[in-house]
């Protein structure tokens, strides 16, 4: 990690720690750090950094299980750039407008996994490679295990063309990478919280973290989290599969090592577990991406 990257991470973490639960967090992140414009060139009001930098931000938000508009914004700005928009982008980068993007369309005219719909002031849809501004005609909030994120399914009417040339496959790749970064963050934080717990919880007159089985399991989880972070550099599908599975494993062990405490509503362990299961299914399940991978690489089908 370069020193600029570390500085970005630290400043995001600082803001999240100080204002994590506040409504104003997103505005601050945009104003003070410019997170919304990281992937946007300067002429559109961004900073022209890149997806790597956006993923650093997403990792930090993932750590705190903040599902705010960053992930959706990365997707929306990607679509707007392809479509050649120059009016919405500056407002989005400044944090003045929140845009929800519908692109994952299981059937014509229907979209799913649309993020940030309640907070957004503008809805964009990608259909037939074109980007439109649209009004939702029917909206259903998708049922979810995760109380921190509420994706919607919707259909739209009255499309107003913004521009052509938006590749859905590219959006899917960005979505997978961005989500994987969030998952890595969540997994890393869940692991840290668990390590803290086993150091301070005493049973049999010793911290439970002094027992070998727990030490070994935590060591293995550490390896998995690091491997998951590396997987983000391999390919979007690999990132999505590995990070989903890693977060699931870490969250499950977090529950086990917290004992009875983890089964309570108050303790955060279940939020990590819920995020793990819900995010694994977002933008295509690990099994779906695995099938995609084996198909594109021409290897033997999964038996």
């Amino acid at each position: 990690m370069t020193s600029e990257h570390a500085a970005l991470r630290d400043s995001v973490r600082g803001l999240v720690t100080a204002h994590g639960g506040d409504d104003g967090l997103w505005a601050r992140l945009c104003r003070e750090i410019g997170v919304a414009g990281l992937t946007v060139p300067e002429r559109y009001g961004g900073s022209g950094a890149g997806l790597t930098e956006a993923m650093i931000v997403l990792e930090e938000l993932g750590r705190a299980l903040i599902a705010g508009p960053m992930l959706g914004t990365v997707l929306a700005t990607e679509a707007l750039l392809h479509a050649g928009d120059d009016t919405l982008l500056p407002a989005v980068c400044a944090g003045d407008r929140i845009v929800a993007l519908a692109w994952d369309s299981p059937a014509p005219g229907v979209f799913r996994d649309v993020l940030d719909l309640p907070e957004a002031d503008t809805l964009l849809v990608v259909t037939g490679g074109n980007l439109y501004e649209a009004n939702p005609s029917t909206v259903t909030m998708q049922p979810t295990l995760d109380p921190t994120r509420h994706p919607a399914s919707l259909s739209v009417d009255s499309l107003r063309l913004i521009g052509p040339g938006v590749p859905v496959e590219r959006l899917r790749d960005v979505a997978c990478l961005a989500l994987a970064a969030e998952q890595v963050g969540a997994a890393e934080r869940a692991l840290e919280l668990t390590v803290d717990h086993v150091k301070s919880r005493y049973q049999f007159g010793r911290p439970i973290g002094s027992f070998q089985v727990l030490q070994h399991r935590l060591a293995e989880l550490y390896v998995r989290v690091e491997a998951a972070r590396s997987a983000c550099a391999v390919s979007p599908a690999v990132a999505k599969i590995t990070c989903s599975e890693t977060l699931r494993a870490v969250a499950a062990d977090m529950v086990q090592m917290h004992g009875g405490l983890a089964i309570t509503w108050e303790h955060h362990a279940h939020l990590y577990l819920r995020r793990a299961w819900a995010s694994a299914e977002l933008f295509g399940s690990p099994a779906h991406h695995l099938a995609r991978l084996t198909a594109t690489h021409g290897s033997a089908p999964v038996a």
Partner: protein, 648 residues
Amino acid sequence: MTPFRAEVRAWLAANVPAAPLPRVDTPEGDLAHRTWERRLAGAGLAAVCWPAEYGGRAAPPVHAIEFDEEYHAAGAPVRIGQNGLFLLAPTLLTHGTPEQCARILPPMARADEVWAQAWSEPQAGSDLAAIRSRATRADGGWLLSGQKTWSSRAVVADRAFGLFRSAAGERPHQGVTYLMFDLRAPGVTVRPIPQLDGTAGFAEIFLDDVFVPDEDVIGEPGDGWRIAMSTAGHERGLSLRGPGRFLAAADRLVRLTRMTRLSGDEYRDRVADAWIGARAYRAQAYAPTPVPPSATKLFWSELDVALHETALDVLGPLAEISPEWTDGYLFALAGPIYAGTNEIQRDILAKRVLGLPHPTGRTGPPQPPFAAMLHKMFTDRDVTWAALAEAGVTGLIDDGATPADLIMAFEELGHHAVPGPLAESIACVPALDLPAEWRSGLAAGRTVATLAAPPRLPYAAHGDTADLILLVTGEEIRAGRAGAVHESMVAGRRLAEVVPGKVLGSGSSVPKALELGTLACAAQLLGAGRAMLEMSVGYARTRTQFGQPIGAFQAVRHRLADVAVALSFAEPLLHAAAAGLEERDISAAKVACGEAALRAARAALQVHGAIGYTREHGLGRWLTLVRVLHQAWGTPAWHRRRILEAIA
């Protein structure tokens, strides 16, 4: 079906409420569940094994298991009385007085009194002996003070049974008294704790000088720990979790996979494994030799999690909106924590059953005489084919031995890693419809046979040296001769491609013969697995590092405990398969024995370290043998598919 099972099935079919009852932690749910328990009690089904005077039927223990299976299969409501019925009642029947039983059990059966367990405390979770809540002597009884936590059902329960420190002991297990108290008594405060599923499934209990009369002490004051451990045995074992929950869930999982053709295929193996696990748990429940409660607990709690995780994966994006699975999953997740965490169970198994690090003698169950004779013979001298014949092993099938005898012998063969085409020449070929003189040659050990039977056996093992080579396709039996020969990873074993010769016959003897070969192979795997466990335990007790036997380290203990669990639950599947000779049961046994043996092999090598890797040590013989047999007589994937086809 037993008449009892038929009665239960009919009664449940007529009485189980069509719609789910409201949640137990609500007033309506409390009432609805108590009403349901009353109906069960009215039909004499609340606790069938209790003596009749307390509301039971004095039924044998297997009836409780049959009831549990039927109950879950019928989708009947959760049992609000479970802590009393499954934990306190068996404790009272063993350690309580007749007066206590007569006073407490009847209202428990009718759910007039619902019970909670008050053991855990904030500082005493895994380390239960660290409890601090006190019982102090008072006139005619005791005064209880302190704090209990995580008490299931305490929100709706009327009474609780708990452990209290009544005297200072030298060791923490001493001076503990087992008492029952009223949750509505003055001085008791119950504070609900919301669980991660949102329900108030458990609660904290604060006690401030709560009076309990002497008649509510179970056993002698100060003897609470010993009695508590007997309750814990029920909690970890079959009493609290019969096989019903897992069988019902596995069946639902199989149905689900068939329905949702969505993503089922990728998960086929895991679905088959969940089904195998549930059958193994059931087979163990009915088996004559019970396994220790700690092993039972490890098995059911991990099976439950795996089963539900598989269902969620099969459902994919629909999982979140399938509360019948997500609720079950969240419930399953608590399994490795309550009733003593799984880490603690592995430690108990390692210490009490495997004898780590202190030697306590042999590990396996006592052996029947034939097996003991083989064991002695194989231990004392090198095993030649002639020796096998002399011991009567080669003639087992000809002598009309049952499949049960066959697997007993093959377990010993596996236990000693005896080489040769054993399943082929001893279990399978003699069961084929062949000329009598060939069969007598095989039985006498003069002829050694092998066969290829694609797809189960693509090559003939030891085809380079066998006297008789067969090729079986469908129900047709041909003579064959060895073509190209391939060296196996097992030293001395070679696989031959079979060049077909003339047709010898065909017929219905073929399928059964192949099943017997497969069964024998499964038994060999189990025996080899057990041998590796014994070697590892022995080694872990004597090998010292860092100033202690390596068996004192948790990483080693837990790994070997897991091997013991896997072997103990594969064994009853093998016996069930031998009893019924049903294809799907044989497949389940083959998969379970193979997986358990592989697990044993990996653990054995790891525990032995470099010495196990040397040729001299010999562990390699077992290690390579199980690796090879695991894939022989049908690959695990082949058997899993066969199971799914049979149960679909």
